[in-house]
């Protein structure tokens, strides 16, 4: 019952979020602000995590395929496909759920308990739309770029790790990442990213928007936002993979 109650509330909130904005100029400015807050400020963490994970994927692949019958360029190929198909979309999505999700839930939750949302409502502003829509637009626009950055950095990290440790030669790795490349895999990763961006921002906003109580409840809503976003991302991953790749 609780699930249906929350789902209903979530849908009602989304209808408020996607109603006509009061003043599009203000929303445009807010969206630019959120692009920096949620997007640009996440580039650092995405680069660091992608570089190390790309390196680990390459090393793991190399140590698990030590067989004279396997060509060495397979290491590059497998690292590339793993990064594109799953890591840069889903793993980065989960990491962003932690970073962006908790940020959104605690920001909106604090605004709720300090009556800032009530102040917006009293002025006649559609608070749901004003606070949430720019975040959704910013994430849906910027997260695909983060995924592209993650793919590039991950593959590069794999090349560095592979060549420095000597598990694969530079020529084999570069040949491997070009071998049997299917461009649609990138499209698939980007489609998933767009869905994840929507899930992270809308679910986290929902958790923050309906907070009641004090600082403790804001903390709880922030945790809930991350947990629910992660579960929904994994659920979306299964559904989208079946729909797109089948």
């Amino acid at each position: 019952m609780q699930f249906f109650y929350n789902f209903g509330k979530y849908v009602i909130l989304l209808t408020k979020v996607f109603s006509k904005p009061e003043k599009s100029k203000i929303y445009y400015k807010q969206t630019l602000k959120e692009l920096i807050n949620l997007g640009v400020n996440s580039i650092g963490i995405v680069i660091v995590i992608s570089a190390f994970t790309g390196a680990v994927i390459t090393l793991q692949t190399a140590y698990n395929t030590e067989n004279p019958f396997y060509p060495r360029y397979l290491i590059g190929l497998m690292a590339r496909d793993t990064i594109i198909l799953e890591f840069s979309s889903t793993m980065v999505g989960l990491i962003l759920a932690g970073k962006i999700g908790s940020n959104i839930a605690s920001e909106i939750g604090t605004m709720r308990i300090t009556e800032q949302i009530d102040a917006l409502e009293i002025m006649g502003v559609n608070s749901a739309s004003y606070l949430i829509l720019p975040k959704i637009i910013a994430s849906v626009l910027f997260n695909p770029l983060l995924t592209m950055i993650s793919i590039a950095v991950g593959v590069f990290g794999g090349w560095i790790a592979g060549t420095v440790t000597g598990v694969v030669s530079s020529e084999d790795y570069i040949y491997g990442i070009q071998f049997a490349f299917i461009p649609f895999y990138v499209t698939y990763a980007l489609i998933k990213t767009v869905f994840y961006a929507f899930v992270i921002t809308s679910v986290s906003s929902y958790c923050g928007y309906f907070v009641r109580g004090g600082a403790l409840e804001v903390g709880r809503s922030s945790t809930k936002a991350v947990v629910y976003s992660c579960i929904l991302i994994l659920l979306c991953d299964v559904i989208l993979t079946q729909l797109i790749l089948s």
Binding site: E22, K23, I26, T114, E115, Q116, D118, A119, E121, I122, M123, G124, V125, N126
Partner: protein, 250 residues
């Protein structure tokens, strides 16, 4: 005029407001008093429409506000200024941006005009040289005054204040009370103030409503309040020893 007509409000199964009816007139300082938990804030939030009432109606100049949809309520809300208990300033915006915010949202003024209006409102509440500071960088009393400046930015017809004196020292409380009183006269607003501060009651309570356990127990002026026979109100007004002694002396 704001007319509250037999309103009821409950949360889960607990009834917080029971059959409250009252009228608030233009240009007057109307005070809602009562103990903590008596239902004052719920009443104020029900009047401004932040809470939906279960029964009864709230009328703003003959318009049944409580039954309007969000779009229609918006038109009346543009005429409302509200001071919240914790000021509710946007903490990621500066003092000036806070005051400019409603102007940005609902007027087509140029940036210079908006700054001029914001400065006028800030000067009106005696906030000088703090335009570029953030709410966290100013004192509680200043935050309240900035919140008043934001509330009057659009020349409101209705001004609501939820415990404007909470957390303030007596001198700052007096300043805030005087400011509310002056603004009510200057803008000819219907002002409704929630308070449990007796100094405020005596200072500017032109009309006072005493709420006890969600019901209206008494209605009168600051002159009547000292001579009331209402036992609950007497307990509230003369709660401390000093007040009790003063009453005995009188």
């Amino acid at each position: 005029m704001i007319k509250v007509d037999h309103i009821w409000k409950s949360f889960n199964r607990q009834t917080v407001l029971k059959d409250i009816s009252v009228e608030f007139e233009k240009g007057k300082n109307n005070l809602i008093i009562g103990q903590s938990g008596s239902g004052k804030t719920v009443l104020l939030k029900s009047i401004v429409g932040l809470l939906d009432i279960d029964k009864g109606e709230v009328k703003y100049d003959d318009v049944v506000y409580s039954k309007l949809n969000f779009k229609k309520k918006k038109e009346i809300r543009k005429k409302i200024g509200m001071l919240f208990q914790g000021s509710a300033l946007f903490d990621s915006s500066t003092v000036e941006e806070n005051v400019i915010y409603p102007l940005n949202m609902f007027t087509n003024m140029s940036y210079e005009e908006k700054r001029e209006r914001a400065n006028f409102c800030l000067n009106r509440v005696n906030i000088l040289n703090a335009n570029q500071l953030y709410p966290s960088e100013i004192s509680g009393g200043m935050q309240k005054r900035v919140a008043i400046a934001r509330a009057i930015a659009l020349n409101p017809e209705y001004l609501f204040c939820d415990e404007p004196d909470s957390g303030l020292d007596p001198i700052t409380t007096l300043r805030i009370n005087n400011l509310i009183k002056e603004i009510t006269e200057e803008f000819n607003t219907i002002t409704i103030v929630n308070t449990h501060d007796m100094n405020s009651v005596m200072e500017f309570g032109e009309k006072i409503i005493f709420i006890h356990m969600g019901q209206k127990w008494w209605e009168g002026t600051n002159k009547d309040i000292l001579h009331t026979e209402n036992e609950k109100l007497n307990d509230f007004v003369f709660a401390n020893h000093m007040a009790k002694r003063l009453k005995q002396i009188k």
